[in-house]
C-alpha cells in the first residue's frame, strides 16, 4: 500500500512537473515576480522600447544559468558578438570565460547591411545551426535578441509571422527554454506588428523606461504567464553592476532577523529611558521639527558605536560629510577619529540626483562593500525629494527591510513640520517597520523655548513614558527629568526655580531631623547620669545599713555579758538552752572561766 501511494505521489509530482516546470533566472527579484522562474521548455517574449534592458535581461538569464552549469546560446541579431561581450563586461559578466568553458555560446546573427537579397529564403539555416550547437553543448536555454531585425529581411508581415511561428514550433518541439526579445515602440506600428507574439508566447514580460518627475525609472511587468501565478504589478528595477535588480515590494518576505541585544545609545540617561539602549537590528526613528537635535542624537549613537568598533554607514541627504562633521563638533561630538579609523562612512547624496531605485541600489552596494553594523539615514523627510511620495516610501521600506534581513540596526531621522504635528512623527507611512520612535520637540514655558524628548514607542522592551528635558551642550546631549506639577511639565528656568524650592524644603526637613536626633542623644546622656546618681545613693544606703547592723551586734554582746554577771545562767539552762544557745555557749563557759 505504501508503495502504491509512493508511486502515485511520484506520478503526481511528475505530472505537475511536466505541466509547469520553471527555469530559475537567478536575476535578483525576477524569480519572485515570476513565482519561480521562466516556463521551462517554453517560449518567453520580452518586449520593450530601445534601451529598456531587453538584451541585458536575456543575457543575464543565460549568464546566471551558465555560471550555475546550465549551458545556453545567445543569438544576437542587432549587436555584434564582440559588442555584446564588451557590454557584458561593464555589468561584471565575463562571457569569454564561460565561452571557453563551453557553457555559453554567442551566435553572431548580425545581419550584414550589404547583404544582397535575391529570391525567397527562410530560417531553416538558423534552425540547422542552432540544432547542431544545441546538441554539441547540451544547451537547454536560448535567447534570440532583437529577432525583429532578422525578420525585417522578409519585408512582409505575413512572412514574418509565419517564420516566427516556425521558430516557436521548432523551439517547443525541442523543449528549449527560450527567450525572444522584440523592440516595441508606442510611436509607430511596430508593436501592433508583433502583437501576435503576445498570443504565441507562454510568458510575456514588458520592460519600460520612463521619466517620472524628471527622474528616469525602469519598470518591469509580467503581462501573461500561462498556467502559472505571478505578480501582476509593475515593479521598478535598475541595471547596474551585476545586472538587473528588481525589488518587488509586495513579495517582501518577512525574513527579518530577530531583534538583538541592547546597544548603548551613547548616552547613559537615554539608555536608561530606553531600558538599555537601542536593540540590534531594530529600526529607530528620531522625529522632530527642525533644530530639535535629531542629528545630534543620531550622531551620539554613531560616535559610541564607532568607538566600540562597529562599522556605521551614514546616508546623509541633507548636508555634505564635511559640513556634518564640523557641525557635530559644536555639541562636542567628534566624528573624525571614526572616519579616520574607517569605522564610519558618510554617504552624502542629493535626493533629486537619481531615482529611488538608484538610491536604493547605491545604499545596498555600499552595504555590500562596507558591511556596516548600523545604518543611519538623515533625513527620511528629504527622501520625498527623490520623486513621488510613493517612490520615497518604497525606498525606505526596501532599505529598512534589507537592513533587517541583514541584522543591521537602522536609525532614521525625520523632520516634521509644525509644532504639534504628531501624525507626521512616524515618517512616510513606514511606521509598521519602525521599532522605536524618539520624539523631539520644543516646548514654550515661561518665555523660554526648551527641548523635550519622549520615547513614544519601543518594541520588545519597556521604556519610560515620560517627557524629559533635553539639552544640547558643548559636551554632548544632556537629559534631565522634568517636573510635573499642576501647570504641566516644567522645564528651563521654571524647572530650576522649582528645583530650588524643593531643595530648600528638603534642607529644612533635614535640619529638623538632626535636631531631634541630638535631643535623643542628650536625653540618653541625662538618663545615664541620673542612673549613676541613684546607684551612688543606693551604695551609701547599703553602707549605712551595714554600720547599723554592726552597732546592733555590739550592743547585744554587751547585754549578754551583763546578764551572766547577774546569774541568770541556771534559769536559762532550765528553760531550754535551745532558745538562746549562742548566748549560752558564748556566755556560759567563758563567763564561768572568767
Amino acid at each position: 500500500m505504501s508503495k502504491q501511494t509512493q508511486r502515485k505521489r511520484k506520478k503526481d509530482a511528475g505530472v505537475k512537473a511536466s505541466e509547469l516546470r520553471k527555469a530559475a533566472t537567478r536575476i535578483t527579484g525576477l524569480d519572485e515576480v515570476l513565482n519561480g522562474g521562466l516556463p521551462e521548455g517554453r517560449t518567453t517574449l520580452v518586449s520593450g522600447g530601445p534601451g529598456s534592458g531587453k538584451s541585458v535581461l536575456g543575457l543575464e538569464f543565460l549568464y546566471r544559468g551558465a555560471v550555475d552549469g546550465d549551458p545556453g546560446i545567445f543569438v544576437t541579431f542587432e549587436e555584434r558578438a564582440k559588442a555584446v561581450r564588451q557590454n557584458a563586461l561593464t555589468l561584471g559578466f565575463d562571457l569569454a570565460h564561460l565561452e571557453k568553458a563551453g557553457t555559453l555560446f554567442l551566435m553572431d546573427g548580425h545581419v550584414n547591411p550589404e547583404l544582397v537579397l535575391s529570391g525567397d529564403f527562410n530560417l531553416k539555416g538558423l534552425f540547422g545551426v542552432i540544432e547542431g550547437k544545441v546538441k554539441a553543448m547540451g544547451a537547454r536555454r536560448i535567447v534570440f535578441d532583437a529577432v525583429d531585425v532578422l525578420l525585417r529581411l522578409f519585408d512582409d508581415p505575413v512572412r514574418e509571422r509565419n517564420e516566427l511561428y516556425a521558430l516557436h514550433d521548432w523551439l517547443t518541439d525541442r523543449q528549449m527554454t527560450a527567450l525572444i526579445t522584440v523592440k516595441t515602440s508606442k510611436n509607430n506600428n511596430i508593436s501592433s506588428r508583433y502583437e501576435f507574439l503576445d498570443f504565441m508566447a507562454d510568458c510575456v514580460i514588458e520592460l519600460d523606461q520612463r521619466v517620472l518627475e524628471q527622474t528616469t525609472t525602469r519598470r518591469i511587468r509580467v503581462v501573461k504567464y500561462r498556467g502559472s501565478d505571478f505578480f501582476r504589478n509593475e515593479y521598478p528595477f535598475v541595471i547596474a553592476e551585476n545586472g538587473i535588480k528588481i525589488i518587488p515590494l509586495s513579495t517582501i518576505s518577512l525574513k527579518h532577523q530577530a531583534l538583538g541585544p541592547k546597544l548603548s545609545s551613547g548616552h547613559p540617561r537615554l539608555d536608561y529611558i530606553l531600558d538599555g539602549g537601542y536593540r540590534r537590528s531594530s529600526a529607530t526613528l528620531i522625529s522632530g521639527t527642525s533644530g530639535t537635535g535629531k542629528t545630534t542624537v543620531a550622531c551620539t549613537f554613531v560616535q559610541a558605536a564607532c568607538a566600540r568598533g562597529e562599522r556605521t554607514l551614514y546616508i546623509n541627504f541633507e548636508e555634505s560629510p564635511d559640513a556634518m562633521v564640523s557641525g557635530m563638533l559644536s555639541p562636542g561630538i567628534d566624528l573624525r577619529p571614526a572616519l579616520k579609523a574607517g569605522t564610519l562612512r558618510i554617504m552624502a547624496t542629493m535626493p533629486e540626483i537619481v531615482g529611488a531605485e538608484e538610491h536604493l541600489l547605491q545604499a545596498i552596494q555600499a552595504m555590500d562593500a562596507f558591511e556596516p553594523s548600523h545604518v543611519v539615514v538623515d533625513a527620511i523627510s528629504a527622501c520625498k525629494r527623490i520623486g513621488t511620495e510613493q517612490a520615497s516610501f518604497e525606498y525606505l521600506m526596501r532599505l529598512t527591510n534589507t537592513c533587517k534581513e541583514r541584522g543591521i540596526t537602522t536609525i532614521f531621522t525625520n523632520q516634521t513640520e509644525g509644532f504639534q504635528e504628531t501624525h507626521e512623527i512616524s515618517g512616510t507611512g513606514i511606521s509598521s517597520v519602525i521599532d522605536t520612535v524618539i520624539f523631539l520637540r520644543y516646548i514654550d514655558i515661561g518665555g523660554e523655548l526648551n527641548r523635550m524628548l519622549l520615547v513614544m514607542k519601543s518594541r520588545g522592551s519597556k521604556h519610560s513614558n515620560q517627557y524629559r528635558e533635553f539639552q544640547i551642550t558643548d559636551h554632548g546631549i544632556e537629559i534631565t527629568d522634568v517636573f510635573v506639577g499642576k501647570g504641566g511639565v516644567l522645564t528651563g528656568t521654571a524647572r530650576q526655580e522649582q528645583e530650588a524650592k524643593e531643595k530648600f524644603a528638603l534642607a529644612l526637613e533635614q535640619r529638623e531631623f538632626e535636631l531631634k536626633e541630638k535631643e535623643i542623644i542628650q536625653k540618653r546622656a541625662a538618663l545615664q547620669a541620673h542612673t549613676a546618681n541613684l546607684n551612688a545613693e543606693i551604695e551609701a544606703a547599703e553602707a549605712e545599713l551595714a554600720w547599723l547592723r554592726l552597732k546592733s551586734e555590739i550592743a547585744q554582746k554587751d547585754r549578754d555579758i551583763r546578764g551572766n554577771m547577774r546569774g541568770e545562767e541556771t534559769d536559762s539552762k532550765r528553760l531550754g538552752r535551745a532558745a538562746t544557745p549562742g548566748k549560752h555557749r558564748t556566755g556560759g563557759p567563758k563567763g564561768g572561766a572568767k
Partner: protein, 107 residues
Amino acid sequence: MKSHDRHLKEKPATRNATYHFRLFVAGDEPNSKLARENLLRLCEQHLHGNHRVEVVDVLENFQAALENNVLITPTLLVTSPPPPVMVVGTLSDTEKVLAALRLNGGE
C-alpha cells in the same frame, strides 16, 4: 590612385579570375533546391566554367555556417574575388546576382 587600383582589380575579376562560391543550403527544402539550380545555370551562362562551387548543407555542417555567419538559407557566399559578397535567397533574380558579382552589363 584608388580608382586606378579598383580598375586593375575589376579587370581580372571579369575576365580571368576564378569565382569561388560557397552555397549554404538546408537539406532538400524547396528554396535550397531552387538556389542550387539557379546557381548552376548562372555559372554556365555567365562564367563559362571559370568558377568553383562548394555546397554546404547546414543541417550537416552547422560549424561552417557559424564560421561564415550564415543563419538564413539559402545563402550564397562569394569568397573570391574579394571583397566577399553575400547573396541571400533562391538567386531567382539573376540581374541582382550578376550585379553583386559585378558582372552586369560587361558581357
